[in-house]
Symmetry: C2
Subunit: 338 residues, 2 copies
């Protein structure tokens, strides 16, 4: 009897530990799956992140923030994925211009399309932002939202970046993907707040960053609801509805999200107001500084894309974290598939 | 030894069961805490809900929907809380007119304010929706979003409904609160998509419905971002930014949420397009029908507030669920505090 009871005790003990471990594993699955932020060098930037997260998640501490209020907002272009030589959404639109040109003979005479079709990118971009918006607007107007989503998905699955030859979703930054996961493992809800088109981003943000469509805030075009033979559709119109940049970012956060973030991440002056709004009295603000000409690109104050000038000064004044891609990141991009 | 081992075995067994139960309890806390939809009578409406939820949550079935896609959208006024004798946000705005009148001598001569201040509600409302929007716009313009939130919270905590004498958040419908919880227990993410002002709703939706601010979509006014002595603020402007009603509801769902709901709940023709969008090929659509003049109000096709006319016909044609408040609900309102 003794030996049987003894065995049974051990079995019961093992099985209990196993069950508890299995149950807990489901709950905290991702939390300890990998080393903490493995692609980050152990410098000031990494330390500032870990310190902030430790502080706001420590129950009983003066800095503790309840999970529901742990909102973190991220710019996308230049913060979560690359943005050179041109915002990827514009590269997508340029491909659309080429594909649609046979149906638009008038584009041969009409800027910015004429220059584009001659292969003169600089000429096409001479019109600045309005020219870019015209391209984006005209190449998708009249599509239903379902049709547009399919075109975006096809492009993302096949088009290659002109410099690296990678698929565009694989131009995401590995250290930022780790950071997103680290924050979520600590009870944060992660949002994108980007100048990019919201319907261009949503088809890939879940897979690339773990951010579901309903947590993606971006620029949007006007839509029209109609019944086509009794079937409801949403048609894309060429007019801009909301351009989510600069002052518009805190406005979008208020309108879409309704809570002030406690952490915000950007890379340009277009993100400055979002960082100011987040770090008014407390909060964690971080700029990704593109200073790695070898592994990525080096640009800041004078760049046409992703200008970081005022923001760089304010980051110093206000003690925000500035990440040197060159020094703080062991790796730049996520692994390529296959 | 035998008895000691025996005791220890039992203890270990108990403690294992206790630990497992405690761990599981954290995970499924709310799921079995109460009887299923206890305020619903066991009729067709309740059955249709339970059947739908059973179907989409059954793994391996043809109708299974992964949790991430279990999006349910709810109208607010007349669907989650009452809307008579007038949308509660307008009652709030009327109280603001009275409070602000001394600072606005021009209102004594200016409609709709002049009629209102004389106590002539019908005269004030003769101007229709533009008059109502003018009241809402002018009574909050110039406030920061933080100031406005405080005013709304104070009003919600003190103002009483003219007929029932209840606080307004206690005019929420108990059966709908149970339904929201039931859906969430089954992996749904619940959203509000309302014509009401988003900043008027967010201060109470979490407590009243368990819906956090970032899952509330509504009408919004224009905002202005500025630095006041270096401090970032968002100022409310009198202009409408987005009026979230009728055709605008599916547009808002696409712009804010980016996924098509699989279930939608409304009570008026203002919700019709949201229901059409949701129930195009599959999905669950439900109208709350106000037919209980004794316990609530009875109104539909001819009502100025919450007109349900086309929607009532389409619900029959398309086989949507129509809830009779009189017959399907055991209780109307949530319990009053104290």
């Amino acid at each position: 009897m003794t030996s049987i009871l003894g065995k049974s005790t051990i079995k019961s003990g093992l099985s209990c530990a196993f069950i508890v471990a299995a149950v807990l594993n489901v709950v905290t699955q991702a939390a300890y799956a990998t080393e903490l932020l493995p692609s980050w060098n152990d410098g000031k930037a990494r330390q500032s992140i870990v310190e902030f997260v430790g502080k706001v998640t420590k129950e009983g501490s003066a800095d503790f923030v309840p999970p529901a209020e742990r909102i973190a907002t991220f710019d996308n272009d230049g913060t979560l994925w690359a943005e050179q030589p041109l915002y990827f959404q514009f590269l997508f639109a340029l491909d659309r211009v080429k594909a649609l040109a046979p149906q638009h003979p008038e584009w041969q005479q009409k800027e910015p399309f004429a220059s584009l079709l001659k292969g003169d990118l600089n000429g096409a971009l001479a019109g600045g932002e309005p020219a870019l918006l015209a391209i984006v607007g005209e190449t998708m107007a009249g599509l239903t939202t379902d049709e547009y989503e399919k075109i975006v998905k096809d492009w993302l699955a096949t088009a290659k970046h002109p410099k690296t030859g990678r698929l565009f979703p694989e131009m995401a930054y590995q250290p930022m993907v780790e950071l997103l996961g680290y924050l979520r493992d600590n009870g944060f809800k992660t949002f994108i707040v980007s100048g990019g088109g919201v319907e261009f981003m949503r088809p890939f943000t879940e897979k690339a960053y773990g951010i579901p469509p309903e947590q993606v805030i971006g620029s949007s075009g006007k839509l029209k609801f109609e019944l086509q033979d009794g079937k409801p559709v949403l048609i894309k119109l060429p007019e801009i509805n909301f351009y989510d940049d600069k002052e518009a970012k805190p406005i979008a956060i208020q309108t879409f999200l309704g809570r002030r973030p406690i952490a915000a991440f950007g890379n340009s002056d277009g993100d400055l107001q979002m960082l100011q709004w987040t770090c008014d009295t407390a909060g964690f603000c971080l700029y990704v500084h593109h200073d790695d000409a070898t592994r990525e690109w080096a640009y800041d104050r004078q760049s046409k894309i992703g200008t970081l000038n005022k923001g760089l000064d304010e980051a110093k004044t206000d003690g925000w974290t500035v990440v040197s891609m060159k020094d703080d990141w062991k790796t730049i991009f996520v692994p390529e598939s296959k």
